[in-house]
């Protein structure tokens, strides 16, 4: 749950008094035109950025002052929009990093390895496990991102534009994966521009524009708000149905 978060960069207000409440076990989506402050919000939640004002509560606990790594230990995991694999390592090793340092501490390297393999299977990168990261395609890199984040056994998973660049069938597959993740008890907060996927997945949606929340509700409710339609007019990325 976020309360009144604000964050500026220089003179640019990125996020202004944003308040969101995400319930456990929900799939919650944040949408909005480019530059609306969505990625900044993710950075604030995962701990890479500190807010200028406001609080972040996770499971009832105020984590606003907590740095990034402890937040992961509490159970917040995320993927990155610009894919950032650890390029010196194989796919499996990448996932193992999440496994070894995440929310659940494995009993041994072997146990971590097995868990990591299971995560890879869940996400669909099992055949690539021993390959180095160079030369992987977009879809596979996205899956790697997800696998790595999943390996930290998060209670809250932040998915940053995982649908971008995927073919419709890959997107379908990803939707299935995300649903299974949620069914496993993980709360999902996602950012995306691919509206069809958002519509399929999200139980609740918040629309951001210029760092402010301009609408909140189910996908259908939000799509009809005049403020939302106006925000998207002229935007290329996805169109409200």
């Amino acid at each position: 749950m976020l309360e009144g978060l604000s964050r500026s960069f220089g003179g640019l207000v990125a996020v202004a008094e944003l308040s969101l409440a995400v319930e456990e076990g929900q799939i919650y989506a944040m949408i909005g035109p480019n530059g609306a402050g969505k990625s900044t919000t993710f950075n604030l939640i995962s701990g890479l950025l500190a807010p200028d004002a406001g609080r972040i509560l996770f499971g009832g606990r105020d984590i606003t002052a907590l740095p990034a790594a402890p937040r992961t230990h509490l159970g917040i995991g995320r993927t990155f929009q610009v894919m950032q694999p650890f390029h010196d390592m194989t796919v499996l090793e990448n996932v193992m990093v999440g496994e070894l340092f995440g929310h659940v501490v494995p009993k041994s390297l072997e146990a971590a390895r097995r868990d990591a393999e299971a995560v890879c299977a869940l996400v669909g990168v099992e055949p690539l496990m021993d390959r180095t990261v160079q030369g992987l395609g977009v879809a596979d890199l996205k899956r790697l991102e997800m696998a790595r984040a999943l390996a930290t056994h998060p209670r809250l998973l932040l998915l940053d534009e995982v649908m971008a660049g995927l073919t419709p069938s890959e997107a379908q597959h990803a939707v299935g994966v995300i649903r299974r993740i949620r069914d496993g008890g993980v709360t999902v907060l996602l950012i995306d521009h691919v509206m069809s996927s958002v519509r399929d997945l999200a139980e609740r949606v918040a629309v951001l524009n210029f760092g402010r929340k301009i609408a909140e509700g189910s996908f259908a409710e939000v799509a009809q708000e005049p403020a939302v339609i106006e925000a998207y007019l002229g935007e290329e990325a996805g169109s409200p149905p």
Partner: protein, 308 residues
């Protein structure tokens, strides 16, 4: 580790241990060279361990010199016995590294390197100034283990085995994942739950400890240190070129690089009395330009493997 690998390593170790006894009788000069090579190898490995977290130090000599001077001063002024003094020297180097590590946490790549270089230069200059540290004239230190070359050799060989073990363990454990993640991208590593601060400082401390003990060893084996030698650029440059040449982030790479480079250096030294460091500059430039993964990379490519 395969049986074949294990056996060859064991054989190598036995030969290494037997070597000094033979050399002392037959060719004492070889023993000297061997000691130098091992010192270099320890230094190179210690640098590599730090480099695995992405902290490329341009001034490993700082810790080398700190170890040397602390140990020498403790034996000369405080009357401490040699071996405890050496350990104390290494410990001090490690503590200073912890402090420096914390200070430089937020400095990325180049800035970190500059900071280390500036640190080393400053140490050199202040040591040069203070009467307490012997100023420019330097210090004469008491010998280790009675000056017996054979025993001294075995001592540094032990240190080498130790640091090889540490390096090997690091690459086999959780630490490998932590270090590599931090090196690649600190922010992402933190998001995956890696405690970046702890691991960076840890690497720094371990690295400095071994550099420090090498410096202290040098002081008590070669019996004389001065700011120019202890904080010399030659040490810093050597410590970084050897791993780059031999293969970064591996255990074998720095050792191979150290042996190869030191042999070349010995050869050059007989031809050119000073300025032989030029070969390091040349090799560094050539490796960066043409062989980014060093000797180990070339080897791996030839054998069709990705990682040594």
């Amino acid at each position: 580790m395969t049986a074949g690998r294990g056996i060859s390593l064991a054989v190598a170790l036995i030969l290494a241990v037997a070597f000094p006894f033979w050399a002392n009788e037959a060719q004492p000069y070889y023993l000297q060279i061997a000691i130098n090579i091992i010192i270099f190898a320890v230094l190179a490995l210690s640098w590599d361990i730090l480099a695995r977290t992405g902290q490329l130090s341009l001034a490993h000599a700082a810790f080398y010199g700190l170890g040397a001077y602390t140990s020498a001063l403790l034996t000369l002024r405080a009357g401490l016995a040699v071996i405890p003094a050496m350990l104390a020297g290494a410990l001090l180097a490690a503590i200073v590294a912890a402090g420096l590590g914390v200070l430089t946490l937020r400095l990325r790549g180049i800035y970190f390197a500059i900071a280390t270089l500036a640190f080393s230069e400053t140490l050199r200059v202040t040591t040069n100034q203070l009467q307490f540290t012997g100023a420019a004239t330097g210090l004469v230190a008491p010998p280790l283990l009675g000056g017996q070359r054979v025993v001294q050799y075995l001592a540094i060989l032990t240190v080498l085995v130790l640091v090889v073990l540490v390096s090997w363990l690091v690459n086999r454990s959780r630490l490998y994942f932590a270090f590599t993640a931090i090196r690649t991208n600190e922010d992402v590593a933190a998001t995956m739950g890696v405690d970046v601060v702890r691991y960076k400082v840890f690497a720094f401390v371990v690295s400095a400890f071994f550099a420090g003990i090498t410096g202290a060893y040098y002081a008590h084996v070669f019996l004389f240190i001065s700011p120019i030698e202890a904080y010399s650029l030659a040490v810093s440059v050597g410590a970084l070129v050897a791993p780059i040449f031999g293969g970064l982030y591996t255990t074998a790479g720095p050792v191979i690089g150290a042996v190869a480079l030191r042999l070349v250096e010995e050869f050059l030294r007989s031809a050119i009395r000073s300025g032989y460091l030029i070969i390091y500059g040349l090799i560094l430039a050539v490796v960066i330009l043409y062989m980014p993964s060093g000797l180990a990379g070339v080897w791996a490519t030839m054998r069709g493997r990705r990682r040594v």
